[in-house]
C-alpha cells in the first residue's frame, strides 16, 4: 500500500476552516518558519480509505484470538468505550483541577478518580492508589521512586540496590535503574519460582527492595512469597509487586496481604482497557502503610463539601501533568463496576482455567517449561522442536496462517525458545480448542515437513520482513 505521502497531490485538502472572522495578523517574520511543513495534501476520502485499509492489515482482539503471553489481550468491552465517549469526561480541561475556584466544575471527574483509586486499593489490599503513572513501566518507576523516598526519609542512604529475579520483565530492571538504583539479578530455581535461599544469598544492607511478579512470568505462583516478604521487611527492604499478572489472582489473593509494600496495576491488562497498538495504557501505583506519605500529588480526597485536592506532605512530587491517563481510568472503572465482586473473581478463575486447559491439550506435543501448575498463562519451550529445525519463531509465524495471533516468544529470557500463551478469561472454549488444534497440526508438520514452516506466513499482506536491512538502512521517515 502506498504511503499517505505518496498519495499527496498539490492543492488537495480535507479539513478547512471558515474564513477568519477577525482581522488577519502577520506572525512576526523573524519567528516564522521558512517553509511550510510538507504534510500530505489529501482529501478526506483519501485519508479515510487509507487508514481503513491499513486497519484491515492488522489483527486485533475483535478480529482474531490474540494469546500474547504477559500481555493479557482480553476482550475490551464496548461499554467502556461508550462511557469514555461521554463529553463530560472526554472534553473536560484538566486545568480545572489547578485552581480551587474551578473544583465545583469537575466534581464528577474527581469522584471518578477517587472511587477508582479506592477500588484499586481494595482489590490489591493496598492502602491507597494513585492514577498518575501512565503505563506499567511508569508505575514501576514511580513505585521504585517511592521506595527511594522511603529510605531517604528514614536516613538509609546506603540502600542503593534493587533485587530482581531473572524472569522479570525488562521494564523492572530498566525502571529500577532509571530510579537510580543498582540492579542485582536473582536466579529463579530450576522449578521456575523464586526461592528464599536465592534471595537471602543476594541480601545485603544495601538492598532497598525486591521487585517480584506474582504469578511470575513463568506463569507460576510464587510459593515462598510470604517468607520472602518477611525476610525483606526484617532487613528494612521493601517489596514491589509488578501487577502485570494481577489478573491471575484477582479476588483470590491480594498483594498487600502477601506482604507487598508497593505495586503497579496495568489497567490495560487486568482491567480490560484497550491496548491501542501498544498504548495508551495506565499504570496506577498502589501502596501500603509504609509508603503512604510519599505518594505523588495532588490527590483527590473527599472533603465536607465535595472532593478537593491535597498533596501528601512528603510526596515524591508529580509523575503526570494531571491525573495520568484519566480516560483509561474511566474505562477501567466501568469495567470494575460492571463485573463487581463476583465477576472480578471469575476473571482469575477462568483465566487460570483456560491457561491450564491449553496446557493440558498441548503438553504431549510441546514441552512445558516447568512442572508446577501454571496460573493464567502457560510457558512451553520449543527447544526440542528447534532441534528439528523449527524454532519458536517459525511456530509463531505458522499460527498467523491459521488465523491466530502468535503467543509471546523468546520471553521470558530464562526459557529457551520460549512460547508463552495467555488465553485470558474472555475467550471461549471453542476458540481455545481451535487454537490447540492449530498448535497440534503444526506439531505434526514439524514431524513431517518442517521446512514448510520456514515459509510461513503466506496469508498475510507481507511475508517475513528483513530486519537486518531495516536496521542498516534506518529508513524511519520520509
Amino acid at each position: 500500500m502506498p504511503l499517505i505521502y505518496e498519495k499527496s497531490r498539490k492543492g488537495r485538502r480535507a479539513i478547512a476552516l471558515d474564513a477568519l472572522d477577525v482581522p488577519e495578523v502577520e506572525f512576526p517574520a523573524a519567528l516564522r518558519r521558512s517553509a511550510p511543513a510538507e504534510l500530505p495534501e489529501v482529501g478526506e476520502l483519501d485519508v479515510v480509505r487509507h487508514f481503513t485499509n491499513l486497519s484491515r492489515k492488522n489483527f486485533g482482539i475483535d478480529s482474531h484470538f490474540y494469546p500474547l503471553g504477559s500481555c493479557t489481550m482480553k476482550y475490551n468491552p464496548k461499554l467502556a468505550e461508550a462511557v469514555a465517549a461521554l463529553p463530560g469526561f472526554a472534553n473536560l480541561h484538566p486545568h480545572l483541577s489547578s485552581t480551587e475556584a474551578y473544583w465545583p466544575l469537575c466534581q464528577g471527574a474527581f469522584e471518578l478518580i477517587h472511587d477508582t483509586e479506592a477500588l484499586l486499593a481494595e482489590i490489591a489490599g493496598m492502602r491507597q492508589a494513585s492514577l498518575q503513572p501512565i503505563a506499567g513501566a511508569h508505575g514501576e518507576l514511580t513505585g521504585v521512586l517511592l521506595i527511594a523516598a522511603y529510605h531517604k526519609d528514614h536516613g538509609n542512604t546506603k540502600k542503593d540496590t534493587i533485587l530482581i529475579p531473572d524472569s522479570a520483565h525488562g521494564t523492572n530492571p530498566a525502571s529500577a535503574a532509571i530510579a537510580g538504583f543498582n540492579v542485582v539479578e536473582i536466579p529463579s530455581g530450576a522449578d521456575g519460582v523464586l526461592h528464599l535461599d536465592a534471595v537471602k544469598a543476594a541480601m545485603t544492607d544495601r538492598v532497598a527492595g525486591l521487585m517480584m511478579t506474582c504469578p511470575n512470568t513463568h506463569g507460576l505462583f510464587e510459593p515462598e512469597v510470604g517468607k520472602i516478604a518477611a525476610m525483606l521487611h526484617e532487613a528494612d527492604a521493601l517489596l514491589y509487586y509488578d501487577g502485570a499478572n494481577l489478573n491471575a489472582i484477582i479476588g483470590k489473593a491480594r498483594p498487600g496481604d502477601l506482604g507487598f509494600d508497593v505495586m503497579h496495576y496495568n489497567l490495560h491488562k487486568t482491567f480490560a482497557t484497550p491496548h491501542g497498538m501498544g498504548g495508551p495504557g495506565s499504570g496506577p501505583v498502589g501502596v501500603g502503610e509504609r509508603l503512604l506519605p510519599y505518594l505523588p500529588g495532588p490527590r483527590v480526597v473527599k472533603g465536607a463539601n465535595g472532593y478537593v485536592l491535597e498533596t501528601p506532605a512528603k510526596s515524591i512530587g508529580r509523575v503526570a501533568q494531571f491525573f495520568g491517563n484519566f480516560m483509561m481510568a474511566v474505562r477501567a472503572y466501568a469495567y470494575m463496576r460492571h463485573l463487581g465482586c463476583d465477576g472480578l473473581r471469575e476473571v482469575a478463575e477462568i483465566a487460570v482455567l483456560n491457561a491450564n486447559y491449553i496446557w493440558a491439550r498441548l503438553k504431549e506435543a510441546y514441552e512445558p517449561a516447568f512442572a508446577l501448575r501454571f496460573m493464567h498463562e502457560c510457558v512451553f519451550t520449543a527447544a526440542p522442536q528447534a532441534q528439528k529445525g523449527v524454532r519458536a519463531l517459525d511456530i509463531a509465524k505458522a499460527l498467523l496462517d491459521f488465523g491466530f495471533h502468535a503467543p509471546t516468544i523468546y520471553f521470558p529470557l530464562t526459557v529457551k525458545e520460549s512460547v508463552m500463551i495467555e488465553p485470558t478469561e474472555t475467550e471461549s472454549k471453542e476458540t481455545l480448542d481451535a487454537f490447540c488444534d492449530a498448535m497440534l497440526a503444526i506439531a505434526r508438520t514439524i514431524e513431517t515437513n518442517p521446512d514448510s514452516l520456514h515459509q510461513a506466513p503466506v496469508t498475510t499482506p507481507v511475508g517475513r520482513l528483513d530486519e537486518v536491512r531495516a536496521a542498516r538502512q534506518l529508513n524511519c521517515a520520509c
Partner: protein
C-alpha cells in the same frame, strides 16, 4: 453479572481434560494463609446501570463551558474522521506490533507518524511516541545526559512549572543537578519551551549556538500547532525536540491519554528512547515495516536500556497522524493563523488588564487583572466561560495573573462576549 463466556458445562469438561475436579484446585498454590483477607467490592451492575451511573458522573462536569484554558492543553477542533478511524477495532484492540506480518497497519502508521513529526519539526528522526509532554522532557534530559556524559541540566524560565516538577520528580535519584536559566557551560543541555508557559515565542538560534559551543545540547519543548507558522526546532538548531501532542487531535480528557513527541538529529538516534519503525522488504521484495534498533529498549537491554518505556501512546500517535493528514500542508498553517489572529484580537480587547508578555505570543498570553484571578474565573464560570488559568496556584505569577488561550474554535462573538464579561467581572 457473568462476563466470561465459559458455561458451567464447559468448565466441567475443561477440568476433566486438565484432570482436576474443581476450579479451586487450580489455585492450590495460593495456600489459605495467602488468600485475600478482604474483598469489599460492590456487586456487579448491568451495562445499562453502569452507563446510567457514569452518565450521571459525567454530567457533574462542566465540559461545555466556552474554554479559554490552555497551559499545555488546548481546545482545538478534532475532525470527526479522527474518531471514526481510530475507533477501527483492528487499531485499538491490537497490541505492540511484535508480529509485523499481521501488524502492517500499525507499523506503516507509525512510520507515517514519524515522518509527519520529522516534517513538522525539521528533525531527522522521531520515535513512535512517549507518554506525554512532561515525561518527554524528562526523557530528553536523560538522553542529553547520555549523549554528553554530563550531569547538569539547565531549565530555562520558559519551561512549564508542571514539566519542571515532573522532571525533578522523575530524576530525583539520578544525581542530575537542575539549575534555572540558560547557561550551557558544563551542562548536558538547556531546556527551553517555545512558546513559553506564559505564551511568549522566542528565537532560540543564539542559544543553540551557545549550547553547541559549550558542548551542550539544546532541548526544546514545542507546541505542535504553533509550527504551522513558527520557526522549527531544526531551524533554531535544536538537538532534541519534545512536545505534548494533545493539540493534534487528542481530546482533553481531563489530562490523558495524551501524547509524548520526541524527535532528534541523526547523530543521536541510537540514544533515543522509545520504539522506532523502519521500512524494509520481505523476500518477495514487497515493502513492509518493522520495529528497529530494539537493542536500545528495555526488553533487550534491561537495566541498560535508554528508557524503561514499554507501552506507549500509539493510538494517540495515530490520532495525531490522522489529524495532521486531514489538516494537511495548508490546514496546519490555517489553524495556526487563526489561533494567532484570534488571540491577538482578544488581547486588544482586554484593555482593562495588563499584558505580561514582553515577546510576541502565538495563541496564549498572560494578563494581570484588576482583581484576584481566582475570583475572576469563578465569576466567569457562572457566565459560561472557563476564563483561563490563574497563575498563582501554579506558582507562576501573582494572584491577579491569568493565562488565557485562544484556539481556532473560538468565534468572534465568543471573543467579544468573553472580553465584555471579563471586563464586567474585573472592573465592577
Amino acid at each position: 453479572m457473568t462476563w466470561v463466556p465459559t458455561t458451567a458445562d464447559e468448565r466441567k469438561e475443561m477440568l476433566d481434560v486438565i484432570g482436576l475436579n474443581s476450579i479451586d484446585e487450580l489455585f492450590a498454590a495460593v495456600t489459605p494463609d495467602l488468600r485475600a483477607k478482604s474483598w469489599d467490592i460492590p456487586p456487579g451492575l448491568s451495562e445499562m446501570a453502569v452507563r446510567d451511573l457514569m452518565a450521571g458522573m459525567a454530567a457533574k462536569n462542566a465540559s461545555s463551558l466556552v474554554c479559554f484554558a490552555g497551559g499545555g492543553a488546548y481546545d482545538h477542533f478534532i475532525p470527526a474522521a479522527v474518531d471514526a478511524l481510530t475507533s477501527r477495532a483492528e487499531f485499538y484492540t491490537a497490541y505492540t506490533p511484535y508480529q509485523p506480518e499481521c501488524a502492517q497497519g500499525t507499523l506503516q502508521s507509525i512510520y507515517e507518524y514519524q515522518s509527519a513529526i520529522c516534517r513538522l519539526t525539521g528533525l531527522d528522526f522521531a520515535n513512535a511516541s512517549l507518554y506525554d509532554g512532561g515525561t518527554a522532557v524528562f526523557e530528553a534530559a536523560t538522553m542529553a545526559v547520555r549523549v554528553t556524559g554530563r550531569r547538569r541540566v539547565a531549565c530555562h524560565r520558559s519551561l512549564s512549572p508542571i514539566y519542571r516538577r515532573m522532571l525533578e520528580t522523575h530524576a530525583a535519584n539520578l544525581g542530575i543537578e537542575f539549575t534555572t536559566g540558560d547557561d550551557p557551560t558544563g551542562a548536558a543541555c538547556v531546556i527551553v519551551q517555545n512558546p513559553s508557559f506564559l505564551g511568549s515565542v522566542e528565537n532560540y538560534t543564539n542559544l543553540s549556538e551557545r549550547c553547541h559551543a559549550a558542548g551542550a545540547l539544546l532541548v526544546m519543548s514545542f507546541y505542535p500547532v504553533s509550527l504551522g507558522l513558527a520557526k522549527t526546532p531544526a531551524e533554531m538548531g535544536v538537538d532534541i525536540a519534545v512536545a505534548e501532542g494533545q493539540s493534534l487531535g487528542v481530546p482533553l480528557g481531563f489530562g490523558g491519554p495524551w501524547l509524548g513527541i520526541l524527535a532528534t538529529r541523526k547523530e543521536h538516534v541510537r540514544k533515543m528512547p522509545g520504539r522506532i519503525a523502519a521500512a524494509t522488504e520481505d523476500a518477495q521484495g514487497r515493502r513492509g515495516f518493522v520495529l528497529t534498533l530494539q537493542a536500545r529498549e528495555q526488553h533487550i537491554r534491561r537495566e541498560k536500556a535508554m528508557s524503561n518505556i514499554c507501552s506507549n501512546e500509539a493510538l494517540c500517535a495515530l490520532r495525531a497522524l490522522i489529524h495532521l493528514c486531514l489538516l494537511g500542508k495548508e490546514g496546519i498553517q490555517e489553524v495556526a493563523r487563526h489561533c494567532h489572529a484570534k488571540a491577538e484580537y482578544l488581547k486588544k480587547k482586554l484593555k482593562f488588564a495588563t499584558l505580561l508578555n514582553r515577546a510576541p505570543t502565538f495563541n496564549e498570553f498572560a494578563v494581570r487583572l484588576p482583581i484576584n484571578a481566582e475570583e475572576a474565573v469563578k465569576a466567569m464560570a457562572s457566565k459560561g466561560f472557563v476564563a483561563g488559568i490563574p497563575l498563582k496556584p501554579l506558582n507562576a505569577g501573582d494572584p491577579e495573573d491569568l493565562l488565557i488561550a485562544v484556539t481556532e474554535r473560538r468565534t468572534r462573538e465568543q471573543l467579544d462576549a468573553f472580553a465584555l464579561a471579563l471586563e464586567e467581572v474585573s472592573c465592577r
